[in-house]
């Protein structure tokens, strides 16, 4: 018998409305409110053993305390899957479901599933990190939304083949997975068919959909006189690391990045640095890593006074097979470090 636990807010946990939104987290054995519907939809092979209830304001304003408390509830419980919501269009509830699902997934490494309406801000905040099913606007959709979560949960628990986000009904996470196409037409023919349609201006459907890009606003230009005062950082997805790859950055589908001290280097020498990128022939970059991290050229501009200096570290990861979701996360982390160091300009060299 597999076991499941469900998270609800104070309203659906039948504690009360807005006046009780400060309700501290609690865990109850058995089924409260929507847990009954979840149990019904999961059937006899999965038991919803506990319901966790927490006020939306408590989770919103004392988030870490709420998460820690709930983790302590869960520490001695056995469960194979964790559900939260559905949260419909309720923003605080959606954010709470996202926060608790993320935390439970990190701590216990079980599948986590929630459901929100596309207007719920929790979708944008958390869709890349978990399965969020496309839910209704209000509790009128309760049965349907719970059914969707339960159905997918059963598929995961039974190790059935999972289809794409669109087919399953959750928001795309920006994760790629390799699948066998049922098509009798070989890939080489399919790609040419697509190309012909493209040049003829006809509609075609890519087999490798790229999630719509969240374009970032254009950064204002640096004032002409200011460049000579600024320190420039170099970031690369070309996999340049000190020989031996001390941070064990993956050669493909990277989830890690590293930073390497270059304050005392004039250029990057082959034999001291190498590329661990598995997506291209490394010979040229191993012989002279400056072809990817152009430190020698930047030092020349530093000497001339065109730039004020070079950030003492360069940042590196590998960009082959890396999902947009991981790339965006690594980008945010690196950008946060650079901003904290007062860096206002960076050159990103990709391969």
């Amino acid at each position: 018998m597999k076991k499941a636990i469900l998270y609800l807010n104070q309203f659906f946990g039948q504690i009360g409305g807005e006046e009780l939104a400060d309700h501290a987290p609690e865990i109850r054995e058995g089924l409260v409110g929507p847990a009954m519907e979840l149990q019904k939809q999961l059937g006899d092979d999965v038991q919803v053993t506990h319901t966790i209830i927490c006020g939306d304001n408590f989770m919103g304003s004392r988030t870490q305390e709420a998460l820690d408390t709930i983790l302590s509830f869960l520490e001695d419980k056995e469960f194979d899957i964790f559900f939260a919501g559905p949260a419909f269009r309720a923003g605080r509830y959606g954010s709470a479901c996202g926060n608790i699902c993320k935390t439970v997934k990190e701590k216990f490494n079980v599948p986590v599933i929630t459901s929100m309406n596309d207007e719920n801000p929790g979708v944008e905040m958390f869709k890349k990190e978990m399965y969020i099913f496309k839910g209704g606007a209000s509790a009128a959709a309760m049965r349907k939304d719970v059914a969707a979560m339960a159905k997918f949960g059963l598929k995961i628990l039974n190790s059935e083949e999972l289809k794409s986000a669109d087919e399953e009904g959750y928001y795309g996470r920006g994760v790629r997975s390799q699948i066998w196409m049922e098509s009798p037409v070989p890939a080489t023919d399919r790609v040419i068919d697509m190309l012909l349609k493209k040049v003829q201006g006809q509609p075609f459907k890519s087999e490798l959909p790229i999630p719509p890009s969240d374009l970032i606003p254009i950064a204002p230009a640096i004032g002409l006189g200011d460049l000579s005062k600024l320190h420039i950082a170099v970031v690369t997805s070309g996999g340049i690391v000190p020989v031996g790859n001390p941070d064990r950055i993956q050669s493909a589908s990277a989830t890690k990045w590293g930073k390497y001290h270059i304050a005392d280097k004039y250029d990057l020498i082959g034999g001291e640095y190498q590329t661990i990128h598995a997506g291209f022939d490394p010979a040229a970059a191993n012989a002279d890593p400056d072809v990817i991290v152009p430190l020698d050229a930047l030092r020349a501009y530093e000497k001339e006074g065109k730039i004020g200096g070079i950030h003492p570290y360069f940042y590196s990861t590998v960009g082959t097979g890396t999902t947009q979701a991981e790339a965006a996360r690594m980008g945010r982390e690196i950008a946060a470090e650079l901003l904290a160091a007062g860096i206002k300009a960076a050159i990103l060299v990709s391969t």
Partner: protein
């Protein structure tokens, strides 16, 4: 700003200031040419990149390189 060989990819993922490089495995220096030529090319394109940072743009822009 981004220096990339696959400018269409850089564009589609939202880079705003772009300077082209010469290849995927050696973006900034062709090993078939002399060390001096490689440095000259690298110095030029990095210079374009630095100038790009000081250039006002209204839309995604690919900056032109001479070598």
């Amino acid at each position: 700003m981004q220096m990339a060989n696959l400018i269409p990819v850089a564009k589609s993922v939202g880079a705003n200031r772009m300077v082209p490089t010469i290849s995927i495995p050696y973006p900034l220096g062709d090993p078939a040419t002399s060390k001096e030529q490689q440095f000259k090319l690298r110095y030029h394109r990095v210079g374009v990149a630095l100038d790009a940072l000081t250039t006002d743009i209204q839309e995604q822009t690919v900056f032109k390189v001479k070598i």
